[in-house]
Symmetry: C2
Subunit: 296 residues, 2 copies
């Protein structure tokens, strides 16, 4: 009799597939055995590990910080202005600040800002089943990495504690950064105004190559922007596993197929799942719990 490592996952084909895969790649008598060093798992964040509706957590932060800086913006302005308007808001709220100061700003925001509908900290709107999956993989010798489209400095301000993942395994988009000696002679890194790397779509496998240097055997995502990461993982010479989180639960979370801001859909990633036999999480039926009952 074995203990259930995934208690928030309801019995069914998705849970069974995950457990069967992990069992096979960790059994050194199995033809599917994978040495521990190659057990690399990669996760998208927004919509895969945590709620991204009605707006990305980082966007909620940007709105709050813009208001605090006396330059409040609205979702309507942003939708009308498209990507240029988003980049302008990012520039205002993420640029011209040292990395140390920015980290402090993010940590203060994360410790106090709550989601209107759920009345919980944004950073507690992480999926309990995915926290269990991360722990289960780690207990089985996997190294777990996050490759987010969100900004890396924002993510690292709160995600290490929430997910139990070290800074260096949390990757995201980056802006320009400059190294300088301040007037007091102390070195600092200043966040600039421009986007350098948008960690989405085909950039995700490139970032994985640059940061991990090994091909993953497990990948989880939820939108078309995650498709290249899932494809790259699927092409591993080892047995691999793809997981697509499908947002089907309008009562307990949100039911949608288009992301909240830039309109990235799920058509291609769901087609990829069908083609490559990846597992699709139907949140309404596969997950018994969405969020931890007690806020972390």
């Amino acid at each position: 009799m074995s203990t259930d490592s995934l208690p928030s996952w309801r019995p069914g084909p998705t849970k069974e597939a995950v457990v069967e895969f992990v069992t096979a790649v960790t059994d050194d008598g199995s033809p599917d055995y994978v040495a521990e060093v190659d057990r690399v798992a990669v996760f998208d964040n927004d919509g895969t590990l945590s709620t991204e509706m009605p707006l990305y957590t980082q966007l909620a932060f940007a709105f709050d910080r813009a208001a605090a800086l006396g330059k409040a913006a609205t979702m309507e302005e942003l939708k009308a202005g498209g990507l240029p308007a988003v980049l302008e808001l990012v520039k205002l709220t993420h640029g011209s600040i040292s990395t140390d100061d920015f980290e402090a700003v993010v940590q203060e925001w994360a410790a106090s800002s709550t989601h209107a509908r759920f009345e919980r900290l944004y950073t507690s709107l992480v999926y309990q089943p995915m926290l269990e999956l991360l722990a289960y993989l780690k207990a089985n010798g996997f190294s777990c990495w996050i490759f987010s489209g969100g900004g890396v400095d924002f993510m690292r301000g709160w995600a290490p504690e929430v997910f139990g993942i070290d800074q260096h395994q949390i990757i995201g988009s980056t802006g320009t950064v400059t190294f300088e000696l301040a007037d007091d002679g102390k070195p600092r890194l200043m966040k600039g105004a421009d986007l350098a790397v948008l960690d989405d779509g085909p950039q995700k496998p490139i970032s994985i190559h640059q940061h991990v240097g090994r091909r993953p055997i497990f990948a989880a995502g939820n939108t078309d922007g995650d498709l290249p990461m899932l494809q790259w993982t699927d092409g591993s010479p080892h047995r691999s596993f793809g997981l697509v989180v499908h947002h089907t639960d309008g009562e307990r979370e949100y039911a949608y197929d288009v992301d909240p801001l830039l309109g990235s859909g799920t058509e291609a990633v769901l087609a990829g799942a069908a083609e490559h036999d990846w597992s699709v999480v139907d949140m309404a039926t596969d997950w018994d719990t969405i969020y931890n009952q007690e806020q972390p």
Copy 2:
């Protein structure tokens, strides 16, 4: 009585300073104690961990590969052409190849190519005292990272085995990379022709921020291109240690103050060492052995 973890280091102030620092930051009764998670050590490679004379190892690889591709180049041509000529050679020898194929090419070269003067594999011309230092730091809870000006895909082809450092902790310069599905539908990463990030000078602390996400407390380099990395480490809120490897041994290695190709010097980094009280390795007097007597 304690065992000597650094037998190839001769007794003297440099060795004493290293041991005193490591003892202080790992003693939880010491005011200088640093938690294990923050014990990050960063190393330059060429000239710091391994011999870079009379030409960078990667340049030796590039010449050999250019010749194999029927487009042999010479050091004289390169010196006359400066940085543009170097980038052209890199483009020819490192571009338009998949990351998987490039890894195989590097590994084959590394396993068979020898340095003319020492008649040893290039990859065995690594400093025995620095190998001992890496092992000593790791045994004391440090995570050791390499931030090389060399190309990351080249470095990762041989350095993990030689230094006992995992791929993801070996960072270097990067070229453009594209993700594509080949004709057979299999995903691959193709190395492009252009330089994307030159991991030298002020880029080193930026790369450290992006890849480690924590400020180092130990840094080692040998040229002015390593100065910002040493300064960034020096600015840590914790006690920190800077080490500069000075090439003073023309008999057993090389005595020089200017790097072999692009002319980066040592004036600024030695001045920084004096200003900040970093330790300077005088290779002729501080090191009892330069290379492991048996090739690894």
